[in-house]
Symmetry: C2
Subunit: 319 residues, 2 copies
């Protein structure tokens, strides 16, 4: 599909439903609401749906949004690789033929829609969306630009992650020229934490264990700890990056309890160690710097299995 074909679809259809993925992030929401505004400004009717509703922290993206009444005629999925990611409340769209168009950047895209535009080289789906809008020649408003910038910034960890491309920078430059308030967006997305999250991070850092001359660090999150904190499970996400954030650490391990004697392991590494190979020893896998596995055993055993493997890996490397 070309961008002009996609723009023709926008022109020739009406009454759009835009689907975003469950546990919504900045990219799916940024694309969803940017597209919704773009279509409405064309005189079309359009709504954005999410299985769980829209999280507070993205309120600047959906500020001013209201649901329109219409009989749905065309369904577009944005940033959704697989219908399983629609979530419980949008399951009705998981059936064959329910989704007309999918715009995505995941290499794992399942091509479940009638038509699919997928660019796995795009750092974020928002980059594809921007290029579609730009091709149309129509106005890209400040709000559309802020929504798309949010998608790019969150999916690239503010231009830090490996998936950041020169294009992500160049399109961000163009979005900045549309007057976006990127400082406020970045503060909200990257610098602000809830009090609960701050407390959890403190506790995690305080209980961090160090091994092998501080080249390996390890944290344990038990069900008890998570229940005691008395906060939403989402507050416990992304903690796996903490063990590797300590200077000199080459392997950072996070052990998270799922059930009695069932532990989910996240392994993060620097250049010196292959996280994916590490986790394969325990039936898991992933990327070279971030991988995972699940181990069924008591905690003490889980810890010692992981440390033995870490010792082996570290003996094959030099600082």
């Amino acid at each position: 599909m070309t961008f002009s074909e996609i723009n023709r679809i926008f022109e020739e259809n009406d009454n759009f439903t835009i689907l975003t993925h469950k546990s919504p992030d900045g990219d799916t929401l940024g694309c969803g609401f940017a597209l919704c505004e773009f279509l409405r400004r064309m005189g079309k009717k359009a709504n954005v749906l999410n299985s769980e509703g829209f999280p507070d922290r993205y309120n600047f993206i959906y500020e001013g949004y209201y649901e329109q009444q219409f009989e749905e005629k065309y369904v577009i999925a944005v940033d959704i690789a697989d219908t399983i990611l629609l979530g419980h409340n949008l399951e009705r769209y998981a059936k064959e033929g329910a989704i007309d168009l999918c715009i995505d950047h995941h290499i794992s895209n399942k091509h479940y829609a009638k038509q699919t535009y997928v660019d796995p080289d795009a750092s974020a789906a928002a980059l594809i969306m921007y290029k579609i809008f730009k091709e149309s020649g129509r106005q890209i408003t400040k709000h559309i630009a802020e929504s798309l910038y949010t998608g790019i910034a969150t999916d690239t960890g503010c231009f830090k992650y490996e998936n950041t491309t020169p294009e992500a920078h160049r399109i961000s430059a163009e979005l900045m020229e549309l007057g976006i308030d990127f400082t406020t967006i970045n503060r909200k997305m990257f610098d602000v934490k809830s009090k609960a999250r701050l407390r959890i991070e403190q506790s995690v850092a305080r209980h961090m264990e160090y091994y092998f001359d501080d080249r390996c660090s390890l944290i344990v999150l038990t069900k008890e700890m998570m229940e005691e904190a008395g906060v939403e499970a989402s507050e416990f996400e992304g903690l796996a990056s903490i063990p590797l954030s300590v200077e000199g650490v080459l392997i950072g391990i996070t052990i998270k309890q799922r059930h009695e004697n069932v532990y989910k392991i996240s392994v993060r590494t620097t250049e010196a160690v292959d996280a994916s190979a590490f986790c394969k020893n325990f039936g898991g896998g992933g990327h070279i710097r971030a991988a995972g596995c699940e181990i069924h055993a008591p905690l003490a055993e889980v810890r010692s299995m992981l440390l033995m493997q870490a010792d082996k890996e570290l003996n094959g490397t030099k600082e």
Copy 2:
């Protein structure tokens, strides 16, 4: 001055000393070592000097660097607004006429050098340096590109700060196309902390005080706390951003003890409050979101003076 005039200076001179500012950061070092390599590849002799030596965390910038022996004939200052920033060990260059050329991006530049190129709109001096190198048509090596990228990334807080420009993004895109390992650079610059720093941040967060429905947060760093930690003073820098990192906080205050009854105050605010106006009440000043002052009084009094002012400011704002 034009970029081609600067390149002519590089061609027509030799035996260069490149000066970087004290308490060196990624921009001054990135520019310094990039320029040094650029000149040496032209067949020139060049050294980089710093008053205090080069910090460990930037070792990837000066890896492979060695001092050359020569009689200094031309002196260039990079990213140095004022000769006072040369530091104790480079004081000999503070005298009139000692520095031939200054390349800088600070609006406050004192024009102390015989010739000065200053662009206050540049997010980092590294952007100016890149444009000079590019104008020359000479090769920009991967190492030069990594040094310059470090300058841009550190001076813009990885593209988060207000000073980030579209040009900063565009030039970063060009640097990425030279094959730089931006993932490792960003990890080193933004994600890695010493064990001591992690411990200090925990302690600070644990002792954070909240006031006025959590719209104001406050931390106190006493001399005792800093001595007890038994680490370099530099480990205590940049903590002032922590109080404002909590969701809902509009005013974040850091009280740092200098001496008995002498406290240095840092105030950080969101859009709702003017930090500079806040600090003017105590004889200080600064920017609209980050300002400071010094108060001579016992701690309890300092705290209550600041809280009374915060209360006043918050009553003039709405969440």
